[in-house]
C-alpha cells in the first residue's frame, strides 16, 4: 500500500518545495504576459510563448526583439545563446534521468528549468525520485502559465512592476541553496570566479553571459580541485 502512496507523497513534496520559487518568478510571468500584449501579440500567442517555450529570460528578450522588428533568425540565435545553460543541466542530470522511460525523459526534459535544476541537482541516484521532480516541474509550469495569463488579462495596467525589487526573491532563494555548498576552497574559487564573470559579462551585455560565467566558475573550481588533490 505504501509503495502506491509514495509517488503521490513525493509529488506533493516537490510541489510544495517549489512554491517559494514559483512566487519569486511571479513578476517575470506577469511581465511576460503584459509585454506580449504591449508588443501587439495576440493573447493566444502570449500564452503560447509560456506554454511552448517556457523559458523566462528568452521569452522576455524575444518579445522585445519582435517589437523591435528583428528577424526570425536573429531571435532564434539569441534564444540559443540565452538558454544554453540547459545543456549543462542536462549533462549534469544525465545519470539519473537518461535511464528513465521515454515519456519521463521527454516530460522532465521539457520541464527542466533553472529552478528545477536548483532543487533536484543535489540528489544522486538513490535519492532521486521522478515523482518529486515531476511535482517540482509541473507545479512551476502551471504557476508560470497562470502568472502569464494574469499578465495578459491585466495587459498594460501594471506599470513599473520590474522596479519593485521582486527579483531579489530569486537571489535570496539561490543564495540559500548555494551557501551550504561552499565548504572547501575549490567551491569558494568557483563561486568567486562565477560571480565576478557574471557581473562583468552582463555589464558588457553579452547574450550568453550566464552560461559563459557559469562555465568559467566551474572550470576554475575544477582546476583548483585538481591542484588541491595533487598536493595532498
Amino acid at each position: 500500500m505504501s509503495s502506491q502512496l509514495l509517488p503521490r507523497a513525493a509529488f506533493v513534496r516537490g510541489a510544495i518545495a517549489i512554491i517559494p520559487l514559483s512566487l519569486a518568478t511571479a513578476p517575470w510571468g506577469l511581465l511576460a504576459g503584459s509585454m506580449a500584449i504591449e508588443a501587439n501579440l495576440t493573447p493566444l500567442q502570449g500564452q503560447g510563448l509560456s506554454g511552448i517555450v517556457f523559458a523566462g529570460a528568452a521569452q522576455l528578450v524575444a518579445i522585445g526583439m519582435l517589437k523591435g522588428g528583428a528577424g526570425i533568425f536573429s531571435i532564434l540565435l539569441t534564444t540559443l545563446l540565452l538558454t544554453s545553460q540547459h545543456l549543462l543541466y542536462g549533462m549534469s542530470l544525465r545519470s539519473v534521468i537518461s535511464p528513465l522511460p521515454g515519456r519521463w525523459r521527454m516530460g522532465l526534459g521539457f520541464l527542466l528549468t533553472d529552478e528545477l535544476f536548483a532543487l533536484i541537482s543535489a540528489h544522486d541516484r538513490e535519492q532521486f525520485n521522478r515523482w518529486y521532480a515531476l511535482g517540482v516541474g509541473l507545479t512551476f509550469y502551471v504557476a508560470w502559465n497562470l502568472f502569464t495569463l494574469a499578465g495578459i488579462v491585466l495587459g498594460k495596467s501594471i506599470p513599473g512592476l520590474e522596479h519593485l525589487g521582486l527579483d531579489f526573491s530569486i537571489a535570496a532563494t539561490f543564495i540559500a541553496l548555494i551557501t551550504p555548498l561552499v565548504r572547501n576552497v575549490p567551491t569558494v574559487v568557483c563561486v568567486a570566479v562565477s560571480l565576478f564573470c557574471s557581473v562583468l559579462f552582463s555589464y558588457w551585455q553579452w547574450g550568453s553571459a550566464l552560461v559563459l560565467s557559469g562555465l568559467a566558475g566551474m572550470t576554475a573550481g575544477f582546476i583548483c580541485n585538481k591542484l588541491y588533490r595533487e598536493r595532498t
Binding site: F54, G165, I170, A171, A176, T179
Partner: protein
C-alpha cells in the same frame, strides 16, 4: 504567421537544449573528470544567475555598500551560516530587503 514560427522555433530549440544530454542513445559516457567538472554546476550556474540581480539592479552596475540587493544578500548568507535553515533564511532576508527598500 511569423510570430507563431518564432514561438515554435524557440520552443524546439529550448527543448533540444534541455533534452539532448538526457537521451540515452546519445553516445556519451561521462568520465571521472567530466563528473568532477559537473559537480561544480550548482554553485557555478546559480551564482551566475544571482550576480547580475545583486550587482546590477535595473541593469546598472551598483557596487556601493548601500545597494539594498547587496546588503540583503550578505544578510541572507549570514542567516544561512548561523541558522542552517534554508527556508527561514530566505524568508527573513526577503523581509529585510523589503524593509530596507521601504526605509531607504
Amino acid at each position: 504567421m511569423m510570430v507563431w514560427a518564432v514561438i515554435f522555433g524557440m520552443g524546439l530549440l529550448v527543448f533540444l537544449n534541455r533534452y539532448v544530454f538526457l537521451e540515452p542513445r546519445l553516445p556519451l559516457r561521462l568520465g571521472s573528470n567530466a563528473r568532477q567538472f559537473l559537480g561544480f554546476a550548482v554553485p557555478g550556474m546559480l551564482t551566475a544567475i544571482c550576480g547580475p540581480i545583486v550587482f546590477m539592479p535595473d541593469h546598472q552596475l551598483n557596487l556601493q555598500w548601500h545597494n539594498p540587493y547587496l546588503l540583503s544578500s550578505l544578510v541572507a548568507i549570514a542567516l544561512v551560516v548561523f541558522t542552517r535553515n534554508t527556508l527561514l533564511s530566505m524568508l527573513l532576508s526577503m523581509a529585510f530587503f523589503f524593509l530596507l527598500r521601504w526605509w531607504m
